[in-house]
């Protein structure tokens, strides 16, 4: 399989199907993310965008299809043509290379900002504490929160918490970052500071898959936009096409309503 991968491919989804009971939330999704690319997924709520993102690091199991990250099959092993769920250790190792930013931040509430950032590199990557500490401080600096290193999450605003969460993901030196509506839980005046950090990451060449309702961000930062509706990819292409000249009726409808 690896031989067939394009060299510059980071994520590939093939015929992904996901059901919750009788409800099909992903109905045969094919997509690709190239190295260094910023892919933004838009679409109405309930269209399956968040679920798709969560499948990429196996926070959700899939019912059929395959997902590859950096040439590796995610969450499953292929044994005689059948897919078996992978071992916990392998799944954890795969996740440690993929950063995930949640809508509701999910900072560890019993740890300070700095401890949040240091936790996984120490206990998952087993790196020495002083090395981790230096990098964690640099990561906090990068998101503009060096002065909040010793603050607990409850002492930070939503925007600050989300920036710590981004620093926490970056501390693992991920090859791919996934953003699940990272600004949806924020007060309007705090959205900008988080988007700024995400934009900066994109400029540095980080490969990113971003689920968002921020159309300005999608238009300006995305290399590729995917529009999803009713468990399917309805239309995809460069932002100029999706926002400037959408081909599908449903895309036009959605963009008109959101404006």
């Amino acid at each position: 399989m690896v031989g067939q991968q394009e060299a510059n491919e980071m994520v590939r989804g093939e015929g992904i199907v996901k059901r919750f009971g009788h409800l099909t939330v992903l109905n045969g999704i094919h997509f690709q993310v190239k190295r260094g690319q910023v892919v933004v997924i838009i679409g109405p709520s309930g269209s399956g965008k968040t679920t798709l993102l969560r499948c990429i690091n196996h926070l959700e199991k899939i019912d059929s299809g395959r997902i590859y990250v950096d040439g590796q099959l995610v969450g499953y092993r292929e044994v005689n043509g059948k897919l078996l769920e992978d071992s916990e250790a392998n799944i954890a190792r795969m996740r440690s290379q993929i950063g995930f930013v949640f809508q509701r931040f999910n900072l560890f509430s019993h740890k300070t900002a700095l401890e949040n950032v240091m936790e996984a590199p120490i206990y998952v990557l087993h790196e020495p504490r002083n090395v981790v500490r230096e990098r964690a401080l640099a990561n906090l600096e990068k998101v503009g929160l060096a002065d909040k290193a010793n603050a607990y999450p409850r002492q930070l605003s939503g925007g600050q918490q989300q920036r710590v969460a981004i620093a926490r993901a970056l501390a693992m030196k991920p090859k791919l970052m996934l953003f699940d509506e990272a600004t949806s839980a924020l007060d309007p005046e705090l959205v900008g500071e988080v988007l700024k950090v995400m934009r900066q990451l994109a400029e540095e060449g980080m490969t990113m898959v971003v689920v968002t309702h921020e159309m300005h961000f999608a238009r300006e930062v995305a290399d590729h936009v995917i529009f999803m509706d009713k468990a399917q990819i309805v239309e995809e292409g460069p932002p100029e096409q999706i926002f400037g000249n959408p081909q599908n009726e449903r895309t036009r409808d959605f963009l008109r309503r959101i404006d």
Partner: protein, 242 residues
């Protein structure tokens, strides 16, 4: 006739101090073992991949919560003799108390763990932590805040439940009153002495418990991150009207 002099005489006697020590020792050891075993039972109950563990834990809890502790003590005292074995009274008490307490602690710990926001486990997993590591480093430390208050009540109960040990002759506070009072027909007076000790221990525990709860209060922990050494040594902030 009530003999005050006996109350005074026995209150500070070596015999009762020793009995009080036995009471405290049984309570602490049984509670600690109960917590450890209860944690295992709670984790078994939450097992998703190995369902039979869940089943075993549920049956255990059902049995130990559904029968009287006194009968569990008798069964463990008499049971081994059927196989030609004997347990010392202290061992029998420690074992039955721990096994019984574990059933209650399992429920408390399970409730505590499920009170922690699910997002915490998800974030830990997304960072590449395995289930055990995420539990140990992220979920359980946060669950402790929910577990401590009911655990404190359990220990308060445990201090008094130790009087059941008297039925198989362990010389703790209750048995001490019965035994030392029997000769002089002064069991009543000595039970008053025992009660004073029980009250003393439960009262002290109440203070210890509220001190621990205050220490675990996240608001306070957040403040402590910035507060000075004087107030840290004192253990409270002189200015705060708490």
């Amino acid at each position: 006739m009530f003999r005050w002099d006996l109350v005074g005489q026995y209150l500070f006697s070596f015999l009762f101090i020793k009995a009080a020590w036995m009471t405290l020792w049984i309570a602490v050891v049984a509670q600690v073992l109960g917590v450890v075993l209860g944690l295992f039972l709670a984790l078994m109950q939450m097992a998703r991949r190995l369902r039979f563990l869940n089943w075993i834990a549920s049956v255990y809890i059902w049995l130990f919560r559904g029968t009287p502790l006194l009968i569990q003590v008798y069964l463990l005292w008499l049971g081994p003799t059927k196989f030609g074995l004997t347990l010392s009274p202290e061992m029998c008490i420690l074992l039955s108390f721990s096994l019984n307490e574990a059933a209650y602690m399992a429920e408390i710990i399970r409730a505590g763990i499920s009170s922690v926001d699910e997002g915490q486990m998800e974030a830990a997993k997304a960072l590449g932590m395995r289930y055990g590591l995420a539990m140990r480093r992220i979920v359980i430390p946060q669950a402790i805040r929910f577990i401590i208050p009911p655990l404190g009540n359990e220990f308060n109960n445990m201090l008094k439940t130790t009087s059941i040990a008297s039925v198989i002759g362990v010389i703790e506070l209750t048995q001490a009153a019965r035994e030392y009072g029997a000769h002089s027909f002064s069991v009543f007076e000595l039970l008053i002495v025992s009660s004073v000790y029980y009250l003393l221990m439960t009262t002290v525990w109440t203070f210890v418990q509220s001190w621990i709860e205050r220490r675990l209060d996240p608001e306070r922990k957040a403040k402590a991150a910035q507060k000075n050494w004087t107030s840290r040594v004192l253990g409270f902030e002189p200015s705060a009207g708490h």
